[in-house]
């Protein structure tokens, strides 16, 4: 069974945590080649939306569809096509960079060659055998990004991917994101950094209090648009 898809849709999706409403009746479609920027203030629902797309959070109502199939019908087969870089980095600090990538590579059925290539992309081929606990935040972030992309996912979910990166690394990651989209991936990127988002994202999704307040093509003047729709930036 394969689970390839060229679009992911949320159809009238709501998600409540107890009495708190995290996402309210949100509908949205992202297609292959899109770099969709999820923007909004803290508590707007960005991370919940990423959790829903990653199938780690189940909707209270509504449906998440990958291509023409609902997420719940696909299960493990679908997860092979998802890559998530979360705010927490999903790395074991006690293990080395190489051990981390090998472990996740084996879980995804990825060979050792790709692990070495990922280490090189992260700029850590010289320090592959060092424990992650000794790495700076930027090094961890680069490693976590490569871990998330190790299995060539179709849907790439990036929650604050630029945290802790220096200027050069930001440029490298931005270029990597563009390459992924050009290669047919659907990239969903949640960030607070409007300056970095501008010029990178191709679509803007603005969230406030769990509601979709704008879904439009990206254009210049993102900060001004954000202020108008969401409030201060």
């Amino acid at each position: 069974m394969t689970a390839d898809f060229d679009a992911v849709s949320l159809i009238d999706v709501s998600r409540h945590f107890g009495r708190r409403r995290a996402i309210a009746r949100l509908s949205l479609t992202a297609r292959a080649g899109d770099i969709l920027g999820l923007l909004g203030p803290n508590g707007a629902g960005k991370s919940t939306l990423i959790g829903l797309l990653a199938t780690l959070v189940a909707p209270t109502s509504g449906e998440v569809r990958f291509g023409d199939q609902p997420a719940r019908a696909l299960g493990a087969v679908l997860r092979r096509r998802l890559g998530l870089l979360a705010h927490e980095l999903h790395l074991y600090p006690e293990l080395s960079a190489r051990q981390n990538l090998r472990f996740f590579g084996e879980l995804y059925g990825v060979g050792a060659g790709r692990v070495e290539a990922a280490l090189a992309r992260a700029g850590l081929d010289e320090r592959g055998d060092d424990d992650v606990s000794g790495f700076s935040r930027g090094m961890r972030q680069r490693l976590a990004l490569e871990r998330a992309l190790l299995h060539d996912p179709r849907l790439v979910l990036l929650d604050e991917p630029f945290t802790g990166l220096d200027d050069r690394a930001v440029g490298v990651v931005s270029e990597r994101v563009r390459e992924l989209a050009a290669g047919g991936a659907i990239v969903v990127l949640a960030t607070h950094d409007l300056d970095l988002a501008e010029g990178l994202i191709t679509r803007v999704v603005l969230l406030r209090d769990g509601r979709l307040v704008a879904d439009e093509a990206a254009a210049t003047g993102l900060r001004a648009r954000y202020r108008r729709v969401v409030g201060s930036a």
């Binding site: 959790g51 780690l56 997860r79 998802l82 927490e88 006690e94 293990l95 051990q99 879980l107 995804y108």
Partner: protein
């Protein structure tokens, strides 16, 4: 795929533990201290309280196991690696089985030291039927790890996990502890009560099977937020 994933998770836990030895040392130290304290209380002038050894052995296993469960899943909370495991294209129950086998292995190492120590301090005839003793310990430990791993995984993101784990775990494992203690008493009696010991082992295995089925069935829905 299921077995491969479980073994990968188990191997990863071993790799971390070999590097840090944190859980093994703390669990061992705790279990040994527990037995030593009980020996001071229950051994008077070289004479231990009748059948105390069986209860103390299983209490030490349960307390040490709770400590090991908490620390093992704490590792998966740091960096939210449990979410990364759940996102892998593998049966989610296999991840649970891998974690559970790690706890069984850790407790087995503890028991290798605990059993001789209890036998020595309490003058208990624990080695009268070694095969049955191993079967009893294995059946009880697997049952404890099956229930404990499920609760520890469920509570991994709860703020009150350190309080909630024993509250949920101890009542659920009372039947296992009763089976373990009564089975051990049967094995240390003079003469050896082999039929009772075998009955308790079979009962423990039945409980293991029921708990394992329930855990495999509920793990995925419980772990999806």
């Amino acid at each position: 795929m299921f077995a491969r994933t479980a073994l990968l998770v188990l191997r990863k836990d071993f790799a971390i533990e070999i590097k840090s030895r944190e859980i093994l040392y703390t669990t061992l130290l705790f279990a040994l201290s527990c037995v030593l304290v009980f020996s001071i209380a229950f051994v008077k002038e070289g004479e231990p309280l009748e059948d105390a050894a069986a209860g103390i052995l299983w209490i030490a296993i349960e307390f040490a196991g709770t400590l090991a469960l908490g620390r093992t899943f704490e590792r998966e909370r740091y960096g939210e690696t449990l979410r990364a495991l759940l996102l892998a294209p593998a049966p989610r129950a296999a991840i649970y089985v891998g974690k559970m086998l790690g706890i069984v292995a850790l407790l087995a190492v503890c028991e290798l030291l605990l059993v001789p120590l209890v036998a020595l301090l309490f003058r208990s005839r624990l080695f009268e039927a070694p095969v049955l003793l191993v079967a009893l310990l294995l059946a009880g430990t697997v049952g404890f790890a099956v229930v404990g791993s499920l609760f520890a995984a469920m509570l991994v993101r709860a703020r009150t996990r350190d309080v909630m784990l024993p509250i949920l775990l101890y009542p659920m494992t009372v039947p296992l502890m009763i089976g373990g203690v009564r089975g051990t008493v049967a094995l240390t009696q003079t003469p050896l009560d082999q039929p009772s010991a075998i009955m308790w082992i079979v009962l423990l295995l039945c409980m293991d099977a029921v708990f394992l089925m329930l855990a495999l069935w509920t793990f995925e829905p419980l772990m999806t937020e």
